[in-house]
């Protein structure tokens, strides 16, 4: 079964076709890696699915329901959560608040009179322990190191308990210790039946994690399939070496 499917998706910025008539299917409960040279449209793909940039044409099918226009604030309702390539936290808020804020009531009155249940606080604690930031809970997000910021961002996504996680280069620039935490978090997602779309450049990590690989080049699908198989194709290597 497919958790996520896109059909003939198109997005262009002025003359550049960032995503060019792209069709894909992502199987439920698997990790699908999206690779491709710089500027090949990987981030734009996630931006389209999460409503950050409007779709020119084509359709995104989530759990069998098609959407041609996606509002960012409806994205969780589709069961989707994402992270950003350039980490985007709520900088002048504490680590705890960065997580707690996504567990809040979504409507104004609900949020105004909400009493945070022990359940929410428990969830925050769980997530922060998992990403190794419980000790830092009272620090402002802006005071964290680069790696800690990446971990906080994945923690915020994990707190959402979505079905599909769109992760834009979560491992980039991490030192081994934090990399380990991040890899474990992604593996845990699959183990608990979640679907992960993983943008990544590191081939070793892709071999280790991905069930399925999608290769983009200039917004088009260059190849897709089982990871070992796709990664051994000459045209894929060439696209990478040619960048």
């Amino acid at each position: 079964m497919n958790a996520l499917e896109i059909k003939k998706l198109v997005k262009h910025f002025d003359g550049v076709y960032a995503v060019d008539n792209l069709s894909l299917a992502i199987e439920k409960g698997k990790i699908a890696a999206v690779i491709g040279p710089n500027g090949s449209g990987k981030t734009t793909l996630i931006n389209l699915i999460s409503g950050i940039v409007p779709i020119d044409s084509g359709v995104v099918i989530i759990n069998g329901v098609g959407a041609r226009a996606i509002k960012p604030y409806n994205v969780p309702a589709y069961g989707i959560t994402r992270t950003f390539q350039e980490v985007r936290l709520f900088n002048q808020m504490t680590v705890i608040d960065n997580i707690l804020v996504v567990l809040t009531e979504r409507n104004v009155f609900g949020a105004l009179f909400e009493k945070h249940s022990a359940h929410h606080l428990k969830r925050v604690e769980e997530v922060l322990i998992k990403v190794g930031l419980w000790e830092k809970r009272s620090a402002l997000a802006q005071s964290l190191s680069y790696g800690q910021r990446k971990l906080l961002e994945i923690g915020r996504a994990l707190a959402m308990d979505s079905e599909v996680f769109l992760l834009d280069e979560p491992f980039a620039g991490l030192f081994p210790e934090m990399l380990k935490i991040m890899v474990a978090a992604v593996k845990d997602l699959r183990a608990s039946g979640k679907t992960v779309v993983l943008i990544e450049h590191n081939m070793d990590l892709i071999r280790e994690l991905a069930d399925h690989v999608v290769v983009l080049d200039s917004g088009k699908l260059l190849a897709e399939g089982k990871s070992e198989e796709v990664l051994s194709r000459p045209e894929v290597m060439e696209a990478y070496l040619g960048e």
């Binding site: 960012p72 994205v75 969780p76 985007r88 936290l89 804020v101 809040t104 949020a111």
Partner: protein, 288 residues
């Protein structure tokens, strides 16, 4: 003593304006320069009702709030199209429009002549034309506004406001339709400013459009920047300091007439120095 009470009442009015604007600017990051417009709507509503109809003070406050909520809903809806600098400029535009309405809708506002003879409230047999009683009354309302604001900023709603300030697009992806949150806080802030306006009109007994110019919005902004963005106590302190400033200038030896002129200059200097050395204000937690 009378003069101290006078200063205290002015301080209370501006503290209300500061606290309410801080919800919008400090906590939500919307650089609004239209607060004086809502303050003006509250003032004019009370002034007009008290001088031209039999309506009492307290119902006039309620009506002032309602009218301001409507105005701020519409203005907030338009402003929600803007971000950052554009937001500030757009909101500046609305203050200019409000001023033009106060000035030119002469049948209602008497335009530049202003509205004199606004009366003071009476309730439960307490006569609030006694300034001390009046001060107690505004202080009580400042207390209400302050407590309501504290409740708001400490609620989950307040946390969402801060996240909007930090990264609106990011919080949207987590399922918040930020338009509603921004509109709600904008309207709440405006409604509180209307309360301040009603009290101001009733206390000062005469209002004209010159009290609700862009300069007035800037003055309120200076209060909250001085005191500190996203800090409610800071706004109260900021109001205290700026209301006392002319007195301080006089105290250090400037003659009254010069002190009055100096005020604008000092506001300007304060802004520049703060931006240079302490952009988060004295007690602030957040930088623009």
């Amino acid at each position: 003593m009378e003069y101290l009470i006078h200063l205290a009442i002015l301080f209370t009015v501006y503290a209300m304006l500061g606290v309410s604007l801080n919800l919008v600017v400090g906590y939500t990051g919307l650089l609004s320069l239209t607060h004086a417009a809502f303050y003006g709507i509250g003032s004019y509503t009370t002034a007009i009702l008290l001088t031209q109809s039999g309506v009492d003070f307290f119902p006039s406050v309620v009506l002032g709030i309602i009218l301001t909520l409507i105005a701020s809903f519409l203005i907030g809806l338009v402003l929600s199209k803007f971000r950052d600098d554009y937001y500030a400029l757009g909101s500046f535009g609305f203050n200019a429009i409000a001023f033009a309405v106060f000035l030119n809708w002469q049948n209602l506002t008497r335009g530049p002549l202003g509205i004199p003879g606004i009366s003071k409230p009476e309730l439960f047999g307490i006569d609030f034309s006694n300034n001390f009683n009046f001060l107690m009354l505004v202080l009580a309302f400042l207390g209400l506004v302050y407590l309501a604001s504290r409740f708001i900023v400490n609620s989950s709603f307040g946390r969402v406001l801060k996240s909007i300030r930090e990264d609106e697009e990011a919080i949207q992806v987590f399922g918040y339709n930020t338009l509603y949150f921004k509109l709600a806080v904008f309207m709440i802030g405006a409604g509180m400013a209307a309360i301040a306006g009603s009290f101001f009109a009733s206390y000062i007994t005469f209002i004209d459009p010159s009290g609700f110019t862009l300069m007035e919005s800037v003055f309120i902004l200076v209060i909250i920047i001085l005191g500190g963005l996203a800090n409610l106590r800071g706004s109260v302190l900021g109001a205290l300091f700026l209301i006392l400033l002319p007195e301080i200038l006089r105290f250090v030896g400037f003659p009254s007439s010069v002190a009055a002129q100096m005020r604008q200059l000092v506001y300007g200097l304060i802004l520049i120095l703060l931006m240079l050395y302490r952009p988060q204000g004295l007690l602030g937690e957040y930088k623009i």
